[in-house]
Structure formats: C-alpha cells, structure tokens
Amino acid sequence: MAGVKLEEVRKVYAGNVEAVKGVSFEVPDGHFCVLVGPSGCGKSTLLRMIAGLETTTSGVISIGGEVVNHVEPSERDIAMVFQNYALYPHMNVYNNLAYGLRNRRTPKPEIDQRVREAARILEIEPLLARKPRELSGGQRQRVAMGRAIVRKPKAFLFDEPLSNLDAKLRVSMRVEIKKLQRSLGTTSIYVTHDQLEAMTLADMLVVMNVGRVEQIGPPLEIYERPATTFVAAFIGAPPMNLLRMKAQEAAALIDGAAIGIPEDGAIVGVRPEDLSLSTDGSQPAGGITLGLIVNAVERVGPETFVYGSVERGDDIIVRVPGQDAPGAGERVVAVARREKLHRFSTDGSRRLGD
C-alpha cells in the first residue's frame, strides 16, 4: 500500500492540445480520492497517466515514494476498474481473476486461495465458471472489482466504473465500493462526472475544470466553502444561485453593510437549500431578500424545487421541504441568512471575504 503523489503533471497531445495543465496533489496512503469534473476536464487522462496508459509530458508521478513516470503499467503494481469493465471475454470469471496473479508467477495454491477469497468478498462464488457474456451488468462490475482486489495492489484506480449501470444498482454498488475500500484500506483514485458519487465516496475531493484543479479538500468543506464559482455551481444539486451585483445593488438586496461587497461589484452565491420562501415579506437580519416571479415548480416528494426569476432577470432556484409551494406566476419573496451567502470575485476565480 502506498500514497500517490502528483507534482506539476502536464499532458500535451500532438497538435498542442493541452489536456492536463500542471496538476499537483497528494493522496495519502489509504485515502479515497475522487477526481470530479465535467467531461473533457482531463480527469480520465490524468487517471490513465497514473496507470501508465498515457505518457506524462512533464511533471512527476510517484506511487509509494517511487517515481513511476517511465515505469510500464505492468510494473506499477496498481489495479484499474474500467468503465466498460474490460473483462477478458474468452476467459471464465475464475481465470479473469487469476490472470494478474499468474502473470506475476504466484504459486498455484495461493492463486486459488486468493481468487476464492475475492469471490467470497464480492459474492460472485457461484459465477466463477461463467464467461463474462453470461453475466449481467452488475455481476460484470463485481468481477471487475474482484480482478482489482485479488492482486492486493498498491492502489486502485477507478475510471467511471458505475456509469454503465442503472440508477438503482449504481447506488448500491457505490455503497459497496466505499465499504470495500474502507475494509481493505487501499489507496484509491476514482474518476467520475457525477457530483453525488463524488460527494459520497471521497475522503478527498479534487474538482477539475479544463485541465486544471479548481479545488482540493474534504467533500463537505468544498460544499461549504467553494473556492470558485465553477466549484460552487458544480458541487451541489441543484447548483448554487449566482448573482452578479454592484455595491449599491447589493446594498438594496442585502440588509446591513457588514457583508462588504467591493465597489466594482462581486458575484454573490446562495444555495437553493439555504433560501426559504418568506410569507410575510420579512427579511432576516443581515440576509438577502429576493423578490421572485415563479416560473415553474417541480415536486419530487420530500422536497419541491421552485424556479423563479428576479426583477433584473436572473434565474433563481429555491429548494423547499415538503410539497407546499406557490404556483407558477405567483410573486414570492425568497430570503437567506447572511452566513449562508458566498461571495466571489467578478471573474468567479476567487472566493472573497469570510
């Protein structure tokens, strides 16, 4: 087992396309790191570089303190779970699991014992004699996991492993992956574009955008204190409401001068779940008050999303518990307390104040 460290890692493809633009972070031994970002942000490329499937243009990648830039994937002692599972179609499940051990010349009795152990952990013992094409999506996913854990590698790499499963299975596999990783204590790096998966799995979240790291930290800390407007909008669903305002506009909407919006303005953010609909038009001390015209209402059962727009035109989402909500076309007032407001520089690249 080992930590994984990246220093100023860059990837430039032929034709000068820079997919990864200088990424540095360190995953301590035994931690579960999730790389999250929209498609094309370079997260999969980065993972493939750690695996050794892509060359590193510059920078240093080390696994367990050893620089692996020029080490073949077969020598890096890592395991990877692919999006399409990449099971060997001509081998049965047993041989799929045993393949990596055989390549490392593990003695036969040990192979057998480790394959059966992994199969027991993942509850795929009855499937050992089957070929991959005779398995369901969820079973294939388990075999792919089995192939990773059977080798006891230094690190697990996951490349969107759940995106081919249906929604229900995805949730249960997510929980299982987390449990498995905790009990094995193996350093893991997991790539996903699903912010919910990212939030629930990670000890350490790395939010990426266009080849750069936007923010690194524990998931809840990132949720509470997003460093940029990109992170603010990407983490959390529905996304944070972002309002660009000048100082005097802010003074009109936000009670009290303490909030401190710079003269040239700022972007003020407030999460849909931090807004509440005020019935009497009262404004919490130091908070924001937004007069809305309701455009649409989505009732999903335990909560309701109210889509409205303020007078200036910005769209606002309010998340209210229960099913009691105004109808479309009604005028309402949404309020939030001051400590729930986030402020960013006008270009969205910096968090202000606190």
Binding site: E72, P73, S74, Y88, N103
Partner: protein
C-alpha cells in the same frame, strides 16, 4: 430466435430465391454433375466413340503412383502457403496496428498485392527468381547456394509457394487488421495493468480474440491454395520440373486439356472436390471448437 417470414403467395418465395438458385445450378451443380457423369466415361483418342466404364477411370487413377505424388505435392504446397501467408500477414497486421506516423500509407501498400492477378504475380516472381535472369536468383547464387527452379524440384516448389503465399498475404492482412481493430483497447490495457508484458499479452489476450478471424482465413487459404493457385503455377513452372510442382488442380488441367483424357480428368476433379469438402468439414469439426466467438 429467428423471425419466420410468412408468405401468403405460394409462388413469391420461390420467385425470390430463383435468381440465386439459378446461378448456383448453372455455375456449380450443372458442371459438377457433368464432371461426375464424365468421370464414368472413356473416349477414344479421336473422340469418335464414348464408352460408359463405371469406375474404371478412378481405379486407373488410384493404381497410378504418380497420382499419389500429386496429392502429396498438393498437401505440402497448401500447408506451406497457408502457414506462410497467415503468419506473415498476422505479423504485419500486428505491426500496422500500432499508432505509427505513416500507418495509412503502410496499410495501403500492404493491400496492393491483392490487386495483382495470379498469372502476373507468377511472372513477377519468375523475373526475380529465374536462374539466369533473376536479380534475387543471382543474389542467392552469390551467397554460394545452388538455385535452379527450372531443374530442381525443391527450388521450383519453394518458388511457387513464395509467389502463391505472397499474393494471399494482403487478403489475410486486411482481415487480421480488422480483427485487431475490433478488440476493445481497454481489454489490452487491462491486461497490461494486470502485469502482462507485450508478448504475453499477445498470446493470452489478443490472439485468442483473433481466433474467429484466423479460423475463417485458414479455411479460405486452404481453398485458395487448392484451386486459385492454378494461375501462379501455370505461369511459373507449368507443373514442372518433372511434375515437382504439379498440384491436383493443375493435373486436372494437364490431363484433361493437354492430355485429352477427359474421363480421367473428370474423375480427378470429382476426387478434388471431395477432398476439399472433407478438409473443410474437418476444420469446422475440430478446429472451430477451439475458437472463441
């Protein structure tokens, strides 16, 4: 489950099948039937009288030691052509599958030989290997080896095998390349991460996944070597020297067209047909079991 088409009109299905059946009947069953019929006949030298002789033509063939030599020649020739053309094509395809700078050019050049007609391919190789004209032949002799395919049977066989295999490499290459492209990249990557080095990866992952292609090509190549190499042999050696390169299909032509023994030639083509049917069914029976579809 296959969907069964139901026709209300009783004539329509037959009408739809008719063109295909017509082609097969005219170009296969009719000549094949004629060959079988003719193999029971014996004509005199002037073509004035024809006798029905039952299996006399066959009996005569099987009593002739030269016929067994021809069968042996054919087997050696076909096996060598199939092995050489399949293995070289696989090697070339594996190399062409790598992300090379001029991969497109390289692939196109490798496909060209397939457009060369068999007789032209034969002439081309003769120019290289002719004992007194050929550049390559001079090179071989300069190295101190004796080389004369016009007189030496082994040399002649080597020459026709090379020419026939060379012509088939492009075809095999094309199929192998398509087969390689159909293997998902992530499977090969997974094997790399699983600790398999390139050679081991090839034999444990890539090759097993190529077996359907390889099996199909084996069948096609054997049939090619049995029948389609006539042009190569006719252009290069005419079955010589001393019948060292005479294969079954060439002997059918030599005895029937040149020797005027129509009955005997027909009997040979019937035997040839049965050998190919037997070989193909053996391949499907025993080799196909080891193929991973």
């Amino acid at each position: 489950m296959h969907k069964r088409a139901v026709f209300n009109n009783r004539i329509l299905p037959f009408a739809l099948l008719a063109p295909q059946i017509l082609v097969v009947v005219v170009f296969f069953y009719w000549p094949a039937g004629q060959a079988v019929w003719q193999s029971f006949l014996l004509q005199d030298a002037f073509g004035l009288a024809t006798d029905f002789v039952w299996f006399e033509n066959y009996a005569y063939l099987f009593a002739d030691p030269a016929y067994y030599d021809t069968i042996w020649n054919t087997l050696i020739f076909s096996a060598l052509v199939a092995v050489i053309s399949l293995s070289s094509a696989l090697l070339l395809a594996v190399m062409a599958d790598k992300p090379l700078r001029a991969a497109g050019v390289y692939r196109t050049l490798l496909i060209w030989p397939y457009a060369v007609a068999p007789a032209v391919a034969g002439v081309l190789w003769i120019f290289m290997l002719h004992p007194s004209l050929g550049m390559v032949a001079r090179g071989i002799k300069a190295l101190g080896f004796s080389w004369n395919p016009l007189l030496d049977g082994t040399d002649a066989m080597t020459m026709v095998v090379l020419a026939a295999a060379w012509k088939q490499i492009s075809y095999n290459f094309l199929f192998f390349l398509a087969g390689l492209a159909a293997i998902p990249r992530s499977i090969v990557e997974a094997a790399a991460i699983d600790g398999a080095r390139p050679t081991r990866r090839f034999w444990t992952i890539v090759f097993p996944l190529l077996t359907p292609t390889a099996f199909f090509l084996l069948v096609v190549n054997i049939v090619y070597a049995f029948f389609d190499t006539f042009g190569v042999i006719d252009a290069m050696t005419q079955g010589g020297p001393a019948k060292a390169t005479e294969t079954l299909v060439y002997k059918v032509y030599a005895d029937g067209r040149l020797g005027g023994d129509l009955g005997g030639s027909a009997a040979q083509s019937v035997i040839l047909m049965m050998i190919v049917i037997a070989l193909t069914s053996i391949q499907f029976r025993y080799i196909e079991r080891r193929v991973n579809y």
